[in-house]
């Protein structure tokens, strides 16, 4: 039986007060809160077996290396990846994207095309713009409609033999739209293009089967799925792992170094230069265990109930518009009230102990599309409750009263 009360006990931060009110944390799309188990895992590492990995023969180093590699295997299993060496530890989604973009700078030729969706996070636009500047490739945009849903017919129309890469987020952080990535991947690969999926916003809600998706690259951040900040993973299909050049030079990524020539280590170490975030990687593994213990099917069912409750209740407020109204969404509600700046609503709501995000959410193109300065975004996790949504709704009403 799903017990939100019991789950909430796992998260120490949920007990704190903000501005005199109990914290209501509805900014989960920015980062999730951490269960005690994940916090303990980090403390345990530094208290009991902190050592550098993959290099020492001593016991501590062995223990740390084992724990780190077990975490890699947990990630492999969770995302259903064929080989554990196709799991590359990164510092997060942004790092993973830049690593791939850098690799492609040696592959792309002038006139090649890269497609990105109209609902990308800035971290998923800027590296491609830089890549295009370096290579002379052309960036094209897959448009979206008023509901915040990608227009697949337009996607097919701009796909061609010139397309070398397609980059789409699985879920949009500003709108919550779930993109049909399976179809997007297939269509791209039919034209011989590689696909990178940004799973930063989906990974806490949806457990993807990367082998079934047959995707080329997939990136995500641990901190979006109850893990620590500063660690993430890049899945890179073995074929690409051998083709792409390393991103950074340093220790760990080399096989042999002479001053004439260095030969690179095998996957995944080729892409893991330097001492990694060891405790972060290990804690990422325990976060995955934690989520799987609750179960993704359970999480989805619960969050969908929260989403529909929040959507209905918020829509009862006069002059409120929700952005992102497609049929497939994660538990994110992005909204505005006519005539009120989202920043003003966010400020009042924060005074009442409720954390929401306001602004453009690093997606200025989406804001330009709707001709708005930003939105108020409430994003719900499996530890949020209906009572918290009631508190949000009454806080928004209060803000509306004060501000008009």
């Amino acid at each position: 039986m799903y017990s939100v009360e019991k789950i909430r006990e796992d998260f120490p931060i949920l007990k704190r007060k903000v501005n005199g009110y109990p914290l209501i944390y509805l900014d989960n799309a920015a980062t999730s809160q951490k269960p005690q188990l994940v916090i303990d895992c980090i403390v345990d590492y530094y208290s009991n077996y902190n050592a550098n990995i993959h290099r020492g023969v001593h016991t501590l180093s062995q223990e740390a290396t084992d724990a780190y590699e077990i975490a890699r295997k947990k990630i492999q299993k969770h995302f259903n990846i064929k080989n554990s060496h196709e799991v590359i530890f990164t510092s997060g989604t942004t790092h993973g994207i830049n690593l791939v973009a850098n690799g492609f700078s040696e592959i792309l030729l002038k006139g090649d095309e890269i497609l990105v969706s109209a609902m990308e996070h800035h971290s998923n636009i800027v590296p491609w713009q830089m890549l295009c500047e370096r290579t002379g490739a052309i960036l094209k945009v897959i448009p979206m409609n008023q509901e915040g849903v990608l227009v697949l017919s337009e996607y097919e129309a701009i796909l061609s033999e010139k397309t070398k890469l397609v980059f789409v987020n699985h879920v949009s952080n500003a709108l919550g739209t779930i993109n049909p990535i399976s179809e997007i991947i297939k269509k791209a690969q039919d034209k011989g293009a590689a696909v990178l999926i940004d799973g930063a916003q989906s990974c806490s809600h949806i457990k993807p089967d990367l082998q079934k998706l047959n995707v080329d690259f997939y990136v995500t951040s641990a901190h979006k799925m109850c893990g620590p900040t500063g660690v993430g993973m890049l899945y890179m299909n073995e074929k690409w792992g051998n083709i792409l050049p390393p991103y950074q030079g340093g220790g760990e990524m080399i096989k042999e170094v002479t001053f004439k020539k260095t030969t690179y280590a095998d996957l995944p170490h080729k892409f893991e230069a330097g001492t990694p975030n060891i405790s972060g990687g290990i804690a990422f593994g325990s976060a995955i265990d934690y989520l799987n213990n609750i179960g993704f099917a359970e999480i989805e069912k619960y969050e969908m109930a929260l989403l529909s409750y929040a959507t209905n209740e918020l829509l009862k407020i006069d002059d409120l518009t929700i952005y992102g109204t497609g049929p497939d969404k994660t538990s994110v509600v992005s909204f505005n009230i006519d005539g009120i700046h989202p920043y003003d609503i966010g400020t009042i709501v924060d005074k009442l102990g409720i954390a929401v995000r306001t602004g453009h959410h690093c997606t200025q193109p989406i804001m330009a599309f709707y001709k708005i300065p930003g939105t108020v975004r409430a994003s719900f996790a499996f530890y949020n409750t209906k009572e918290e949504i009631d508190a949000l709704v009454s806080a928004v009403k209060k803000a509306q009263m004060m501000l008009t």
Binding site: N19, I340, H341, Y343, D344, T347, I348, K351, T358, G359, P373, G374, M402, L403
Partner: protein, 141 residues
Amino acid sequence: MKIEAIQEDLIDEFSMFDDWMQRYEYMIDLGKSLPIIDESLKTEDRLIKGCQSKVWLNAELKGNQVVFTADSDAIITKGIIAILIRVFSNQKPEDILVANTNFIDEIGLKEHLSPTRANGLVSMIKQLKLYAMAYQAQLKN
């Protein structure tokens, strides 16, 4: 009126409120009563960077005093601007430059002083002082 005296007045006014709601309601009222600046003055170069809401600040020298006018698309931000303008507008550049901003803490708006705060109160104050500095130099020449 001297800057310190205006600041004292503000501290007095805000001391009448016993909770944040009343303070914010007052600030929102101040925002609403702020004279709207001319659309033609809302230009890119008058926009203050570092604000989640848009803030336009215009400065003119009248006699030996700096006159500030400003606007924002967010009402709480406008309230903050209204307070700043009341304190700093129609003052001599040298007085603006030496004035401190402790009163913001004392009227219970300290949270807006955090540099990470997206309303850019800190950027606004910096910009006001930069104008004062420029006019001070101009007056000396």
